[in-house]
């Protein structure tokens, strides 16, 4: 039993140090591997940092052509349905950020050939927050936001 515990402990420390290493590497050479999961963006603590790490810029222009469909009041923050729809041309990606979550970046959808400007999923929200949809098209970032009130948070322990 004792050795088992030590094993999990060792595993834990190894995992933590590798995270630290990856973070360090990420800071030194940002966007080194484009195709891989953007760890630094998902771990960023603010919307601006997350966007800079994800798209190289946090320069957003509000665009009416992006529609966010999410409930005005979400009773359960664990499952908040969200749909982002847009008819902007030449979309490269659609990202969803929740301003007041510990790590705002929730998801980023990279659209391939033929994909329409439509994605829907369900997400967790810690508390009432603005949800921001960021659409990258022709290298520019377009955004729209919507407030979702959360009565029971989805990130508590």
């Amino acid at each position: 039993m004792n050795s088992l515990k030590r094993r999990t402990f060792l595993k834990g420390t190894a995992a933590i140090s590798s995270v630290g290493f990856a973070l360090g590497a990420g800071l030194l050479t940002p966007r080194m591997v484009l195709a891989a999961w953007p760890k630094s963006a998902f771990e960023s603590k603010s919307v601006d940092d997350a966007l800079t790490n994800l798209a190289g810029s946090a320069d957003l222009s509000t665009n009416e052509q992006i529609q966010i469909r999410a409930p005005d009041i979400a009773e359960n923050g664990n499952v908040v349905p969200i749909t982002v729809e847009t008819n902007i041309a030449n979309i490269e990606s659609i990202s969803i950020l929740t301003e007041k979550n510990a790590s705002p970046l929730t998801a980023s959808f990279v659209l391939g050939a033929g994909a329409e400007g439509f994605v829907a999923t369900r997400m967790k929200m810690g508390k009432t927050s603005d949800v921001i949809a960021v659409v990258k098209a022709d290298g520019k970032l377009h955004s729209s936001r919507k407030e979702v009130k959360v009565t029971i948070g989805g990130c508590g322990g």
Partner: protein, 104 residues
């Protein structure tokens, strides 16, 4: 392991709507085990790739803030009835799964 992905693809006009449900715990790493008080390690899907005829139509990059048993829906054009669509996911522990669906 039973397949973790349930996927449907429906063609309407020339737009295919894909809807998928994946069974996955999606642990954030911030929740505590209520009995022991220990943190439950993060375990979440990081990437979901959907392919049609060998072309990637959508790459979803997810953080831990996607809900448990994730739902994903998207639309694309260019598919015909009977075409095969493939979806696969990879999580932060390196586990993965994939499934195929026929466009109906």
């Amino acid at each position: 392991m039973a397949n973790s992905i349930r996927m449907r693809a429906n063609l309407e006009g020339d737009v295919t709507t894909v809807r998928a449900l994946i069974s996955h715990p999606m642990e954030t790493g911030m929740m505590k085990n209520k009995k022991t008080g220990d943190l439950i390690p993060a375990h979440f899907i990081q990437e979901v790739v959907c392919e049609h005829n060998g072309n990637t139509v959508l790459t979803s990059l997810w953080g831990p803030a996607i809900s448990t048993n994730p739902y994903l829906s998207f639309r694309f054009s260019g598919a015909k009835k009977g075409d095969t669509l493939k979806m696969s996911w990879v999580d932060n522990k390196g586990e993965s799964d994939s499934a195929e669906a026929t466009v109906a």
